[in-house]
Symmetry: C2
Subunit: 369 residues, 2 copies
């Protein structure tokens, strides 16, 4: 099936992806919130088109390059969900002047003042969310922090407070439905509390945006939330399987590689899929560089991907039988990634296995800032 395909190559199972898209969108519809997918996972127009077609309203991006690429393709409502810094304001301004409804993020008074001043000087009013920290995992302002209304107050003149957003990244380290439901509620309650804190101080706070793939799939209700963001759900990966919000059978991307040699005395298979094809992301360190499957995508018990060099994978066989006969030089393997965002970023295209069968399709993806 893959004989004529140069390896390593990134495969995308369109049927699995479509299932993942519909699962998330249906859930958001049931919860009564707008869904704004985070497109940092795919960086691919064809994927985003399918998310929009399923019902997504606007997108979330991790770089202004993503904003630029997707705006050029017709997406006109974009949240840039990393706190803005001065060196990116001109880039953001250019996109807004070209017609993009771009929302920026701040988490400090200093930056709120700079954004407002930049907007006032250049005759634009930036839409801004304040980042809220509900789980201590990274950035943002605590919901009850007195600095919160100060940031809002600094958004005067060339900026406008649009709302608040939280991302419970700590959910990636959990793995029971109870713990996931609890952190989803913590994310919701914290973000809603921040909005109420701002409203009590006299600020409008229209948008209450929360999300991560684990919390989006685990929230019991989303009262007070207006929109949810999630990214990796579109492909899923072994980290998400470890968290428990998908199974290996839901993972829509894999790296196709070829056996290039053996070290029979050690039980080693050498492949042409090294860390350049997989990324160095070891996820929860439970699957090495990824879950090893046969050419049809079925996991191979006893074959572990523990070591990688730039263009070499070193797989350890602990099963029965002669590895040279079981996995001869030239044979194909597929590796399910630990982290779809990281593995995808190592490739410039997806080779798409169509849901309807038939010929491969090639979907380009971009990278950079």
């Amino acid at each position: 099936m893959y004989d004529n395909l140069e390896t390593p190559a990134l495969l995308l199972d369109e049927g699995r992806m479509q299932h993942n898209i519909e699962r998330m969108q249906n859930r958001m519809n049931q919860l009564g919130v707008i869904f704004r997918p985070h497109v940092k996972t795919s960086k691919c127009l064809e994927v985003v088109r399918r998310q929009m077609a399923a019902g997504a309203r606007g997108i979330t991006v991790s770089t202004l390059k993503e904003a630029e690429e997707f705006f050029r393709a017709g997406v006109d409502d974009i949240l840039y969900a990393v706190a803005i810094v001065p060196n990116k304001l001109d880039h953001a301004l250019n996109l807004i002047r070209a017609g993009l409804r771009l929302t920026l993020l701040v988490e400090s008074v200093a930056m709120a003042e700079q954004v407002a001043r930049h907007g006032a000087e250049l005759g634009v009013c930036y839409d801004v969310l304040i980042e809220i920290d509900t789980d201590g995992h990274r950035s943002g302002v605590k919901p009850a922090d007195p600095v919160l209304p100060q940031i809002a107050a600094a958004l005067q003149g060339g900026a406008r407070l649009k709302g608040v957003m939280a991302h419970a990244g700590a959910s990636y380290d959990l793995n029971t439905p109870e713990a996931l439901a609890a952190i989803a509620e913590q994310e919701r309650a914290g973000c809603v509390a921040a909005a109420e804190h701002l409203r009590a101080a006299g600020h409008q706070c229209e948008v209450v945006s929360v999300g991560s793939t684990p919390t989006a799939l685990s929230a019991q209700h989303l009262q007070g939330v207006t929109e949810v963001r999630a990214g990796v759900y579109v492909f899923f990966d072994m980290v998400m399987a470890d968290v428990g919000v998908c199974t290996a059978e839901d993972v829509a991307i894999s790296v196709l590689c070829t056996v290039i040699g053996h070290q029979a005395d050690k039980g080693w298979l050498i492949t042409d899929g090294g860390w350049m094809a997989m990324s160095r992301d070891l996820g929860h360190r439970s699957h090495g560089y990824g879950l090893v499957c046969d050419a049809d995508g079925n996991p191979i018990p006893g074959l572990a991907f523990g070591k990688a060099n730039q263009e070499h994978g070193v797989l350890q066989w602990t099963g029965e039988g002669d590895i040279g006969q079981l996995f001869p030089v030239g044979s194909s393997l597929r590796i399910l990634p630990n982290h779809a965002c990281a593995t995808g970023a190592q490739h410039s295209q997806y080779l798409v296995i169509p849901a309807s069968g038939g010929q491969w399709k090639v979907w380009p993806r971009f990278s950079g800032w």
Copy 2:
């Protein structure tokens, strides 16, 4: 200095790079061997031009994409140093027919037979090296293995045995001059022994190719060796500093990033340089995601880069003073990478600080297969 530069960005100090290039080439000249740099580190024509200008003869590549790009730019003697598999032979053949002197690598009788058959069927004679394993770290045939002359014998018809090559990748885990000199001698002696094994069996073995950055810089003599390969020396990195073959002051690339926020109660600085800008390569786990320096490239004691998300770096401050005042939002930091090959691969260009001072230059780099 960096105020107008959008971050994250990959910086290249041209003066440091030029020093590294001359240091290695001078050493190879003294040892009396041809130097064939491995260009997988830079994937950049401007860098390779400087390596060739300094005296390199031919290059080593890790992908056929590299072979294609550098051949198009005029490099006509290229070793593809990953064992070939059937799905890449047509690509290799096209390059050879276009005029490239391409050398392939095999490490099994099965693949030697396939290469020879492919060449015979399509009317070309492939130049081939056999990969030799001198340190057990990955792939290749042991020097005394009886399969070695069998592989050579299989290279009949559409292929020709050109020689042997070894790569002592285990040298990356050493850190004393004595241990490095010993593994360099082990690599040399093993590869020369493999060549003698083949010659004793009646085969020509013109090329004896060894190398890695640590062994190239540690070999006491290279009797019997015809050429040396090394890659990462061109930029160096914190792994090479840990090994002891360079210092942090030799590292020619760094990732420029910007402080986007603080979590003052934890001593955290948040930057816009996450794992997408650094890669997930943790090296020897002695510098987190890289060594944190100020905007001029001087290391900052007390500031450690322990945690990264896709577009966020989380830096821990353990020094004295208020982090918001020491490192305000919008201030610049430079991170020296653990692994130059991995960090470089996350970027599509180098912003070059010219050796002579003056304006930035932009040097593109490519990726993929």
